[in-house]
């Protein structure tokens, strides 16, 4: 197994864990956590490809990862703001109970 394969497998595993969590957990905040995990797994892929890629000096993968971190921070802020607003409105963060379109 080459080093890159190892990193890619870890990233794939982490991505699947995040996906499983996002699809199975009931709490909206934990779904967001799952999505964060998936984004992080993607970051790991980007960094790994940058490190073992043919042109590391071009910094492409690194830049992608840094921008992705910034975007993930924005996503967390907005997502959690929405969750808090939903909780204020519906008094629950349980996604199974949020099944009405009407407020």
């Amino acid at each position: 197994m080459t080093p890159l394969t190892g990193y890619l497998l870890v990233a794939a595993l982490l991505f699947s864990i995040g996906l499983a969590g996002a699809l199975t957990r009931r709490n909206a905040i934990l779904v967001l956590i799952g999505i964060e995990l998936m984004l992080n797994a993607a970051n790991l892929n980007l960094i790994a490809f940058w490190r073992y890629g043919p042109h590391p000096e071009a910094l492409t993968g690194m830049m992608f990862a840094i921008f992705s971190i910034a975007v993930a921070a924005a996503e967390a802020a907005v997502g959690l703001g929405l969750v808090i607003q939903i909780h204020r409105h519906a008094h629950t963060t349980d996604l199974d109970q949020m099944n009405r379109m009407k407020g």
Partner: protein, 171 residues
Amino acid sequence: MSIVFYLLAALTVAGGLAAMLLKNMVHCVLALTVAFAGLALLFLKLDAQFAGFAQILVYIGAVAILVVFAILLTRGSETPKDGVFSRSWLIGLVIAAAVFAVLGWAVLQSARVLPHETAIPVVTVKQIGAALVGRYVLPLEIVAVLLTAAMIGAVIVAMHENVGHEKEGSK
């Protein structure tokens, strides 16, 4: 593949698994920070110093704290009595397993064409900075605008509406 990599990978995956499996939400977040820390260490192992430290600063220092605040504000710090998994958990699990199977298969299939050990790239923070304000200046500006918009958006979304007919208990 060094022992360090296996340890870090195990730490990261264990953290991620715990974050998705534990019942108490605050424990989930703490497990998530373990996963984030493991990822940051993996970044350092990949000689991406800047990305690793930025990961700690942003994820552990900001995102984890933000999630904790959200949990406490939505009164989620107690363990729920009825289960923590959705009714359709089996479907989700199957989808995730299928995704992992496809990804793993693809990685293992392409293992032959993936590069082996390469020279350690020497990247200084100065180079990253130069690239950020040089070649990648447009994405940087867009990210800046995005972050500003997200900040204002988050503030507006989470702000109390100053309408008189606030429902009781909505504070």
